[in-house]
Amino acid sequence: MATPAIDVRNIVKKYGDFEAVKGITFDVAEGEIFGLLGPNGAGKSTLIRMMTTLLQPTSGTAIVGGHDVVKDANGVRQTIGVIPQNMTTDLELSVEENLIIFAKLYGVPREKRDRLIDQLLEFVELTQWRDAQVKNLSGGMRRRVEIARGLVHEPKIFFLDEPTTGLDPVSRVNVWEMLTRIQTERKLTILITTHYMDEADKLCDRIAIVDHGELKALDTPMRLKMSVPTDNVLEVNFASTPPGWIEKLKTLPEVETVVGDDHFFKISSKNAPATTMAMLDAAASAGVTVQTLSVASTTLDDVFVHYTGRALRDALQDASPNESAFMLRRQ
């Protein structure tokens, strides 16, 4: 089995009596986009800060890019690119100056530096803004500067702590597209923390749900949704159906009831994804064409409720005052 890009084993972070991260274990494969999903104060940022050498774990280990975050912190720093939660770009400097300074901090040779910066500015679509002071750019553009800055030394692993928080919907989609392109073109391993369900669902190959410093669930978005028993309705319109088709539909897995006529059927299921997959297989083998299909499917919000016992939007509002204050102090 290939060595994982990130290997976290039983990692713990305590501040006095408060345990921010309670023994979390997971690994991230090379080239994977991995999401840490949870509300504020869940321990996501603490976790990412331990993996990026900004915080020392109280116990446990984290191997990032083959380097131990405690024993070989500089090895880790050389391998990773980091976009912290706070905007950390110098507002007084120009876009290009920010990239130059960080290239120097990472020890990128001069002959390589200029070429890399040109490529990155083009990649994040900021070439025409290279001489603009960052303070004159919009929030979305500043995020793109940070993405370019995080890649200026060609890291293998890219950490992003809530990269789209505070951005407008258009800028968020723009950042998502950019991250997907980075992953595809540069074969980067990406670890991202977020409290946006749609972001995790759209971007991540696998998602770890974190709450109160504990790992509640870890799997692909589809499997996480399938793992949650729900009572959903599929509405299917077939081009034509053979005799006894309704009886066939009733035998599909997790189906509770089926109503319909020759073409249009409503299938009530305990597990919509599983029933959908089985229905499509049955239709294909019987030579039945599916004209339209709509599924009121399980969302990651349902998954979050299932594994944490509360809705994410409630968790965001409830993020315990003590924990929130604590997180603020730590920043």
Partner: protein
């Protein structure tokens, strides 16, 4: 150490883009120099003194005439004649006049019988400067009373001959060494301490903490950039202040070179101290809160505005460790006495040793993590 230079470059590029910071940190010491220098340095004039002649005799007339001569000549005070002593004292208490010169009823008789004549000066002693000036002026006024006494050709008692080694030093020049030190401190405080903590509070330091820069490179980078900024402020105030206060040969290149050396060493000492104080601070209010306290604690005991010999013991102890003391002493030697480096060797040695101690402690205390 290439990474250290990246920190220096970053800080200086930001500094260049912050003209407000540059102006603020330079204007305060200049304003202080000019306002304090001319406020404290000038002669006190036009004090109001009430003259009450209770005697009315002929010998009292020269006293009144001498008082009016002072009013017309040196203008130390203006005289107001009172007929009633009670009215004069009431006006003194109400602040309408600064003192009352009373010629008592028996003045003439005592003058003529050469029997210990006295003139009284009732003064408002809530203002020491005014009171001392009045006593001095009234004393010299009385010394001119009576016929001139011929000085013996050979004095029977020892006489004091005063030889002034340097030209007259106006107070504004006396203040200049403190103002240069203050400008360095201001830049260190605003351009070093406050910006450093503000960056921390904004989370900006996370950006460079995730790079492979070493602790020493980081501390050295911040100290070096802070020193360069403070040197620019110090040199500017040194040149402008010298010209404003009229330091002789202000632009002599050798002296400018020696002064710049002291500015560099002072800037390094103060930025090291600042970094040591701020190394574990995270709250942006802290540097602002300690700014005033630190300013007072370092500036006044240094001898910048008043001789240290006049301080109480506890303040003299502060002065011994205060880096301002050595900077101000070195600047005074170079600016007011135009000495060579030999006279300020100990000052330079102390400031360098102070920097080394602060720098080492700051590096040890600096946290490479959050």
């Amino acid at each position: 150490m290439n990474r250290m230079w990246a920190i220096v470059e970053r800080e200086l590029r930001r500094f260049k883009r912050s003209p407000t910071l540059i102006v603020i940190s330079m204007v305060f010491p200049l304003v202080q120099l000019v306002v304090l220098g001319y406020a404290f340095g000038g002669n006190v004039k036009h004090l109001k003194i009430g003259v009450v002649d209770q005697d009315g005799g002929i010998p009292a007339v020269p006293v009144r005439e001498l008082a009016m001569a002072v009013a017309g000549g040196a203008q130390t005070f203006d005289t107001i004649l009172y007929a009633d002593q009670g009215q004069a004292v009431n006006d003194l208490r109400d602040g309408r006049i600064n003192g009352v010169l009373t010629i008592p009823p028996e003045f003439s008789r005592r003058v003529l019988s050469k029997n210990d004549p006295h003139v009284a000066l009732i003064e408002d002693n809530t203002d020491n400067f005014v009171a001392a000036t009045l006593v001095g002026a009234a004393g010299s006024l009385l010394s001119g009373f009576g016929p001139p006494t011929p000085m013996p050709r050979i004095s029977p008692v020892p006489q004091l001959d005063v030889v002034e080694v340097y030209p007259y030093v106006p107070y504004v020049q006396y203040l200049l060494p403190g103002s240069i030190t203050m400008s360095i401190f201001m830049m260190v405080m605003i351009g070093g301490g406050i910006i450093f903590i503000d960056d921390k509070a904004r989370g900006l330091h996370e950006g460079y903490l995730v790079t492979p820069i070493s602790k020493l490179e980081l501390v050295a980078g911040f100290n070096l950039s802070g020193t360069i900024k403070a040197v620019l402020a110090g040199v500017s105030i040194m040149i402008v202040g010298s010209l404003i206060s009229g330091i002789p040969m202000a632009l002599d290149p050798m002296r400018l070179l020696r002064l710049t050396l002291v500015i560099v060493v002072t800037a390094f000492a103060l930025i090291s101290m600042m970094f040591l104080i701020m190394v574990r601070v995270t709250d942006p209010l802290t540097p602002r809160a300690i700014f005033g306290v630190l300013n007072t604690l370092l500036y006044f005991p240094s001898g910048a505005v008043y001789p240290q010999q006049g301080f109480p013991k506890w303040m003299q102890l502060i002065a011994v460790v205060d880096p301002f003391t050595y900077a101000v002493h070195a600047f005074k030697d170079l600016l007011l006495k135009n000495t060579g480096l030999g006279a300020i060797t100990f000052d330079l040695f102390y400031l360098l040793a102070f920097s080394a101690v602060c720098m080492t402690a700051a590096t040890l205390l600096f946290k490479r993590t959050l």
